[in-house]
Symmetry: C2
Subunit: 362 residues, 2 copies
């Protein structure tokens, strides 16, 4: 009957709780720094100085406190548009990612947005559903003028479309040699894949295949390279490599063929968790048990890594930190610095999808 009994508890019996909010559903104009000045009995300039913390030695402490109190009482909040207009910047950074709904990039965005918020800036995502493509002028479609761009895991050709804005560019998970970017922030994926390789070798696996992402970007090339190196160094080179788009169904189909080769591989290393989920699917369909008959590994540590059964052994990339570090790098560039390349550590996470190599078939 009453599915929301608590909603009736009178929250606002009186008109206003004397709080900072101007309220007045429609038309209450927001207080300006001038209003604060008037209330505190000082000039608008003083308000600006105090509220921006640039008052040391220019405004006496008691007055400064008075200003702050007046601002609090009025619920004053500086007008970002005016501030930005005056100070030049737009306060907006564009984050370009290959796939908007991908959890990994959502985490990157979260990290970047958090750092941006500290500086009163905001991050807009490039709204194109599918990559950059023919570049319908990212800046226009973002609907905002921008201070800079952070681009993640982009194909080199798409990068070029991003250039031409003359905007500071920070690249994530991309070739540090790329001269287009003012800075680069990379997770140490090679290290991650070397550990994956080492883990499998230590478990006795000798017939290992690679399910690679069908995407020609630096980060995926590095993954393949690092894995191949690690295995070669143990005289147990990759048996085969196949490529699939980052889609579970396609990955399952491709992995199915990979598992049909003889001698059958005992482990499949995947470029990311989605591919790994596909590989697990293919294994089940082929009547193979994971990890008893086949070990599977991924990269990213997405939510689905723990959603599937068994849970995926994977390499956790510091997505939030990548976003945050990238944002900080961009801010440094905007301040005239030249941050260069940064490499972030990754974490190898062993879980249930890997086990000792099956014995009978060696």
């Amino acid at each position: 009957m009453d599915r929301r009994s608590e909603a009736t508890t009178g929250d606002g019996t009186a008109t206003e709780p004397a709080g900072p909010s101007p309220a007045g559903a429609a038309g209450a104009p927001r207080p300006t720094s001038r209003d604060v000045a008037e209330r505190a009995g000082v000039s608008q300039a003083t308000v600006s100085l105090v509220l921006r913390d640039r008052w040391h030695g220019r405004v006496s402490p008691p007055r400064a406190e008075a200003v702050r109190e007046a601002a609090r009482e009025l619920g004053y909040r500086p007008n970002l548009a005016a501030r930005r207009l005056r100070s030049g910047g737009t306060g907006t950074v564009l984050l370009v990612v290959p796939a908007l709904t991908n959890e990994f990039f959502a985490r990157v965005h979260a990290g970047a947005a958090a750092v941006a918020a500290e500086r009163g800036m905001s991050v807009v995502l490039f709204p194109s559903p599918e990559g950059i493509g023919p570049a319908p002028d990212p800046f226009a479609s973002a609907g905002a003028t921008l201070d800079g761009v952070i681009a993640s895991s982009m194909a080199s050709r798409a990068l070029r479309a991003l250039r031409g804005g003359g905007l500071p560019l920070v690249m994530l998970d991309s070739d540090p040699e790329d001269t287009e970017a003012a800075a680069t922030v990379n997770p140490d994926v090679p290290d991650g894949l070397r550990r994956v390789g080492g883990h499998l070798l230590a478990a006795g696996h000798r017939r290992i295949v690679h399910l690679a992402a069908d995407i020609d970007t630096w980060t995926f090339r590095e993954r393949g390279r690092a894995l191949a190196e690690e295995l070669a160094s143990a005289d147990s080179p990759l048996l085969a490599t196949a490529r699939a788009a980052l889609d579970v169904r396609e990955a399952a189909a491709v992995a199915g063929k990979l598992l049909a080769t003889r001698p059958r591989p005992t482990a499949v290393v995947c470029d990311d968790d989605v591919l790994a989920a596909g590989a697990c699917k293919a294994a089940r369909r082929a009547g193979l048990r994971v990890p008893e008959d086949l070990s599977v590994t991924g990269v990213d540590d997405l939510a689905l890594a723990t959603a599937v059964e068994p849970e995926l052994t994977t390499v956790r990339l510091p997505a939030e930190e990548m976003g945050g570090t990238g944002m900080r790098a961009l801010l440094e560039v905007l301040d005239g610095g030249a941050p260069g390349t940064r490499v972030l550590p990754v974490r190898f996470v062993p879980r249930g999808s890997t086990g000792p190599a099956p014995t009978g078939s060696g």
Copy 2:
């Protein structure tokens, strides 16, 4: 001395590359509407009129075209900060979601951002990692003044924290009776759960349990209600209900207990896909096959719904459309309208995780 009077010297001549980009790595100042005006031989006001498409009957077509061409040649892009300052709005909308990295909300955000971009606005996400909690002043932490707020699936108590800004508020997936919101956009989840119930009943299931989200929000209450109603109408009431947080591991643990009850249920309806993945996990651990021994359903149709094996029967919620519709509703409110409640259709998606009820144990 005006310190930038000499900037006008080379108005048309050769100082700038013909291309649209100002380039000049560091310091090329962006062209303003005044620059465009000068180049086109008109006044700044005319430029504004033309570029905002408000010139019909006020500027002659050839002149308008000249202005547009000058703008193109200079690579002119209006200064959003100035525009917003002048026109009052901030051009920024806050999107409040319970979990930033949740794929569902990423899709909501994508939909909202796309609509916002059409109007030159942008959407910032509330950067708090975990829900609203004690509300550390969302508006301040967003680092921006705002035109309005879109809040999704919030608990009523958290809502109250959002109020007090006096900002137009649009709710997604929430109680339409809630008087706090100017508009509400809901997916027709009850319909979805009725169909789930009908689907299972038609498949012969009579011992059905409900794995509910341990979250006290309207949308989840409705899911439980609709499911219970549908089953009751067929004289086959819910056997039991258990609650778990939206976490695969916890869901698996709770579902494990649920499956241990006798007589054993033949189907478990989950409030969302994450819970369903947990239920599948529990089933495997209990030695039950899905769907032969146990049918499982979810809601949302996240990526993981097709990542697990078997793929999940689920109800696809139109996340992008919710975001887009919510944004449009907010824009209408900002224009003085009163959109009220909208209900969006959902899609029932049968997949491999449901099948006929097992026969032997009836």
